[in-house]
Symmetry: C2
């Protein structure tokens, strides 16, 4: 038995998200499983580090696969990649210790949200950013972000309440901009359903001066989704990296 860790990039535009679904072939997990099974000659399953929503992209999603034996070099990055559509790609494949599980072993994740504040949506970036044609005060956004760092109950920042725990730790949020392109980077232990997109909607509202940075701690305290910002669209969101072991590794 051999366990492999895969790093996968995908353009989420055409897909119903990561998670395999019964009546659609258009999920990343489903397409990956089919391609690997086809290359291997027997059915295999792939475990992701977590789900990504329909339309969300990944620069470095991770997945684990358990195979009955070793495969030749280039099995994943060659044979499997050849069977994948060009908007899904295995970037790296490493043999890891048995017991490794992409989700259970993960210690942290980095997400990036990209915003285009230009007057007109950029023709080439339109699938990969959210067009929000307003002047943003990045300093106010960063100030609001500071309130969100640390360990909190983020129940006000999710659209799904039945999680065992809604407590999470955010290590860092970095707001940066160059010209009409603004990026918000989130690093934390893990994120709840819709959490990064609601955090982004909230930060955008502060940047556009529709709310103050000081309104943010109240959302954490009341745990009231109604007080948080809008759900920023999937197209601007990228799962950048998944960390294993110590923080930041």
């Amino acid at each position: 038995m051999r366990t492999y860790k895969l790093t996968v990039a995908y353009d989420g535009t055409r897909y119903q998200g990561w998670q395999r679904q019964v009546n659609t072939g258009r999920t990343i997990q489903g397409i990956l499983e089919n391609a690997i099974s086809d290359a291997a000659g027997y059915d295999i399953e792939v475990d992701g580090s977590g789900r990504t929503d329909a339309g969300v992209h990944a620069l470095g999603q991770t997945a684990s696969v358990v195979l009955p034996g070793t495969v030749e070099d280039g099995f994943f990055t060659g044979s499997v990649n050849q069977r994948l559509p060009e908007d899904i790609r295995i970037c790296e494949a490493h043999l890891v210790k048995n017991g490794f599980h992409a989700r259970k072993s993960a210690s942290g994740k980095i997400y990036e949200y990209r915003i285009d504040t230009g007057r007109r949506p950029d023709v080439f970036q339109r699938r990969y950013c959210y067009h929000f044609p307003q002047e943003l005060d990045l300093a106010v956004m960063q100030e609001a972000a500071e309130h969100l760092k640390g360990t909190h109950d983020f129940a006000g920042f999710t659209d799904k309440k039945d999680e065992t725990s809604t407590k999470r730790e955010i290590y860092d949020i970095i707001v940066s901009g160059q010209g009409s392109s603004v990026t918000i980077r989130y690093e934390g232990t893990g994120f709840l359903y819709h959490m990064v997109r609601i955090l982004t909607g909230t930060l955008l509202e502060t940047g556009a001066r529709r709310r103050t940075a000081e309104s943010v701690p109240g959302i954490l305290q009341t745990k009231d989704r109604g007080q948080a910002g809008f759900l920023a669209p999937a197209r601007g969101l990228f799962l950048r990296e998944v960390h294993y072991g110590q923080r930041g590794r």
Copy 2:
């Protein structure tokens, strides 16, 4: 009568090129004419600075339109843009002197060709660059490019021989690279059918050491297409700017 100059950006991936065709609605010119006619309430025609092939992109294609009278501010960038698919966008519209013609008045053009030399095609750049996974010697490519600058008969660098004249002037070719991304920028009076893509194929062959920089003058002298390089694919090519008036203006 009023003449407008439009600057248009498009992602050429889904289109049969710039030029209107009888049996397809999938050309940039055709779609632009339909959108403007629809917004104006009468049929109008659009003249481009030149054709772009199927799959070629534009950051700054220009077009001229003659209307019977003035239109309100925001007619093109508002009403017309709303009628366009999101991969075609009018970036600017200016009232110009009557007599201005996007093609006939043009004095120069800048094209850019983008190459991805990474081992595996980048999931997010795949529509906007040519994946050529080989180490390129950029200095050799620049050396080859120097032979192409100036006024020459470029008959060896086109796939269409029935032009009135195949003489053109190239002001500059700049080869630049960062990491696995290589860009070749071409500036000249105008370019023949397939010329930028054949120039690029030729330069890539020198960079990959399949031919020498010194083989390039021979192609100009013999005017033999068979001696020039391969036709680089459309997806890496961008029409960046069209100049009017003095060189570089």
